[in-house]
């Protein structure tokens, strides 16, 4: 469109737009930013009523040391670099690592390399650079002020949470549950999504409607159904272990029927199923975008349905699969209700485990530790949004635009 007088925005409108955007940005980021700041401070600074004390942590600085302006500037630059690198070169890097055209492998390797590089960079390389720069600056008369610590920072809350309270156990449990959920959900979901996208039968319609209803179910309703069975699963499953036709098969796994309560594998299956309605809707709409002529051509050339699916459709489906996988990941990672009711204390994931921190919240030390645990849970999600922002946006809009 031409830049005519009609299109030029009145000053009031531009001012209101910018004002609203600034307001909303602060609103969206402030709570998270603030608890991140709090988590690095001693309790007395974290819950101070003077905001400057929370930001600069005067007591923390005096007792535990802190960061200088140089360190902050270099740190901010490193973070910008990490964000920029992921946003602009992530895709190319993933393509580069996609050995043998397997794009999922590329993404997985790229994510792995990125996380390792980030950890190495932030905890080893960056501190080394900062130390060198600070050492140089401290010999220059006026600039030495930049090398002096001015913002208090302590890792003691994180140390207490991760080492003292063995939060890494919960982290490992979370990883087991989320990885399992994503892998199984995608395997089962892509098959179903493809089947549903390539059929015109009435059954498919009813299946999709049923999935829609299932998606709306509160999870507590389903857990009410699982709990009695999971707790007494030994009795419920006994016939499978005793009946001679199936016994040999189940005895391969264990001598006795397992108690499903507290089993990560059982929770994985539950989360996969709860997530299935959403997964098949989303993957179906991705498959609908791939022209049916493509698999027809493959079928004419002598591929079976499964062969066409594997050789022709899957290679062009990776964006859709990655997007759906992200949402499966978020569901499993963020889940509180299912994990807290079906897992016991030993196999608990991170999100339910945090309740033990804030229920204990009697002193401010406990509170700051709970804050540190909360920030620890958020950090991986933060990375996820940085790397996969485009996929998340496309995934969210996919369902809406299609119907």
């Amino acid at each position: 469109m031409n830049d005519t007088a009609v299109l030029r925005q009145p000053f009031v409108l531009r001012f209101a737009t910018v004002g609203f955007i600034v307001f909303w940005t602060i609103l969206a980021a402030f709570p998270l930013l603030w608890i991140t700041l709090m988590s690095f401070k001693l309790p007395i600074d974290a819950f101070a009523s003077d905001p400057l004390r929370v930001i600069f942590g005067f007591t923390t600085l005096r007792e535990r040391g802190g960061l200088s302006v140089t360190a902050l500037v270099l740190g901010a630059f490193a973070l910008w670099l990490a964000y920029h690198g992921a946003e602009h070169h992530g895709r190319r890097f993933a393509r580069y690592l996609a050995l043998g055209g397997r794009e999922w492998l590329g993404w997985l390797l790229a994510a792995l390399v990125y996380v390792i590089a980030l950890i190495l960079g932030l905890f080893w390389i960056l501190p080394a650079i900062v130390r060198v720069v600070e050492a140089i600056l401290s010999h220059i008369p006026v600039l030495d002020y930049l090398a002096r610590p001015m913002m208090g920072l302590t890792m003691q809350n994180y140390r207490a949470v991760w080492i003292g309270y063995r939060f890494y156990d919960n982290f490992i449990n979370s990883m087991i549950v989320t990885t399992g959920t994503v892998v199984i959900s995608l395997t089962v979901g892509t098959l179903a999504g493809y089947g549903l996208a390539r059929t015109r039968s009435n059954v498919a319609f009813w299946l999709l409607i049923a999935a829609l209803i299932f998606r709306a179910l509160p999870h507590s309703v389903l857990v009410t159904g699982y709990l009695p069975v999971f707790i007494h699963s030994r009795e419920f499953l006994a016939p499978l272990w005793n009946w001679h036709a199936t016994a040999w098969f189940f005895h391969l796994f264990s001598d006795q029927p397992p108690t499903l309560y507290g089993q990560p594998l059982a929770v994985i299956m539950v989360l996969v199923s709860i997530n299935q309605p959403f997964t098949i809707w989303m993957l179906r709409s991705f498959f609908m975008n791939i022209p049916a002529e493509l698999d027809e051509a493959a079928r004419v050339d002598g591929c079976s349905h499964l062969g066409a699916f594997r050789r022709v459709i899957m290679p062009v489906m990776w964006p859709g699969v990655i997007t759906t996988g992200l949402f499966s990941f978020l569901l499993a990672y963020n889940d509180y209700l299912v994990c807290s009711l079906l897992l016991d204390a030993q196999s608990q994931t991170m999100v339910p485990a945090i309740t033990s921190f804030f229920n204990r919240e009697t002193t401010t030390t406990d509170q700051v530790q709970a804050v540190a645990a909360a920030v620890s849970i958020t950090a991986p999600l933060f990375l996820l949004v940085i790397v996969f922002q485009k996929q998340i946006v496309s995934g969210l809009t996919q369902g809406a635009v299609k119907g």
Partner: protein, 342 residues
């Protein structure tokens, strides 16, 4: 695609959904009419101690769980009909509340179920227009700034929606907790001490605010994507015809986004009706509870380690009624479209 091949593709998913969604649903329905509890019997023991002239004997009666042959406490299940529903809905108490001596609505809201229902419905209906409104505002505002800053802004706007809801609620709570930064700012503003987390109404407002903060990014992303597909020709002809900015918004943009608004509204209704994480995050159970939290609370073992499965099932079934009402319009639309296509 032949039915056999279709079944091969859809089979695993269908199996999982049947086993883990459909079957539990039926079993919850059945469970809600039965109560299972341990079998106890009274054991009378007579203990005597030697005494002068006569033994002193005391008889004591205790109730003990009956043990089965394998040493596990025996349980029995019996049919209670609508008993579990009655213990949740408390019809007698409702009648008393609305009788001459009763306190009407005030008394009704003292019963957990109605308290939860009231909060859930208020929560769902109040947040709906706010989420759509703020989502639309942010989308329009972002659509109005230069391309270069949009990427980082989308990233920031999206954050509340991606992080774990409970963590978001906790972050909000730590700002408003007794010595949190916002609580202090608020006290300074009011020049008196006001504990926002200790009053039911202020806590409820905070929970509504949190939900809008958390879901508005979802509405924003959908609307923003919709704005990118507004037909330029229509827009240009509107400009040529002299439509003002407001008129263009009213007659071109909003109608274009109408299906997306319906979509966001439906998803939001479904999700807000399931409100649960806020109750945990803000620890609001003393003041405000929701329907899903009610079921959750019945499932958590009580002090003697028992779970009220039967009442939880009844509460689940009652929650489902609301979902069905919400879904009816959606299903009717889908059915009509299906008929139109076929």
């Amino acid at each position: 695609m032949k039915p056999r091949i279709f079944l091969f593709f859809v089979g695993p998913s269908l199996f999982l959904m049947t086993l883990f969604i459909a079957v539990p649903l039926v079993s919850v329905f059945v469970q809600s009419f039965f109560v299972t509890h341990q079998v106890f019997h009274e054991v009378t023991t007579k203990s005597c101690s030697p005494g002068f002239m006569k033994q002193t004997c005391t008889e004591s009666t205790r109730t003990e769980p009956v043990l089965g042959p394998d040493g596990v406490p025996k349980t029995e299940t019996h049919f209670v009909g609508l008993g579990s529903y009655r213990s949740l809905l408390k019809p007698a108490a409702v009648k008393a509340a609305f009788s001459a001596a009763g306190n009407g609505i005030g008394d009704l809201l003292n019963i957990d179920f109605y308290r939860a229902l009231r909060f859930t419905l208020t929560f769902t209906l109040v947040t709906l227009p706010l989420v759509i409104g703020f989502g639309m505002l942010t989308a329009l505002a972002l659509n109005n700034v230069t391309q270069a800053v949009r990427g980082p802004l989308i990233f920031t706007f999206l954050l509340p929606f991606i992080i774990t809801p409970i963590i978001g609620a906790l972050a909000m709570r730590w700002l408003f907790v007794g010595n949190g930064i916002m609580a202090d700012a608020l006290n300074g503003l009011l020049s008196q001490h006001f504990a926002i987390l200790a009053h039911g109404w202020s806590l409820e407002l905070l929970m509504l605010f949190f939900r809008v903060w958390y879901v508005a990014p979802f509405a924003f992303v959908i609307f923003y994507a919709g704005l990118q597909t507004v037909d330029r020709d229509v827009m240009e002809s509107a400009i040529v015809d002299g439509a003002s900015r407001v008129e263009r918004l009213r007659y071109v943009i909003i109608p274009h986004l109408a299906p997306l608004i319906t979509f966001v509204a439906l998803i939001h209704l479904m999700d807000a009706y399931r409100v649960f994480e806020e109750i945990i995050g803000f620890s609001s159970q003393a003041h405000r509870i929701s329907l899903q939290w009610l079921t959750y609370d019945l499932l958590v073992p009580d002090s003697s380690g028992n779970r009220a499965i039967s009442r939880a099932s009844a509460s689940s079934m009652l929650t489902l009624i609301g979902i069905v009402i919400l879904l009816i319009p959606l299903l009717r639309r889908a059915w009509r479209e299906h008929l139109g296509r076929g």
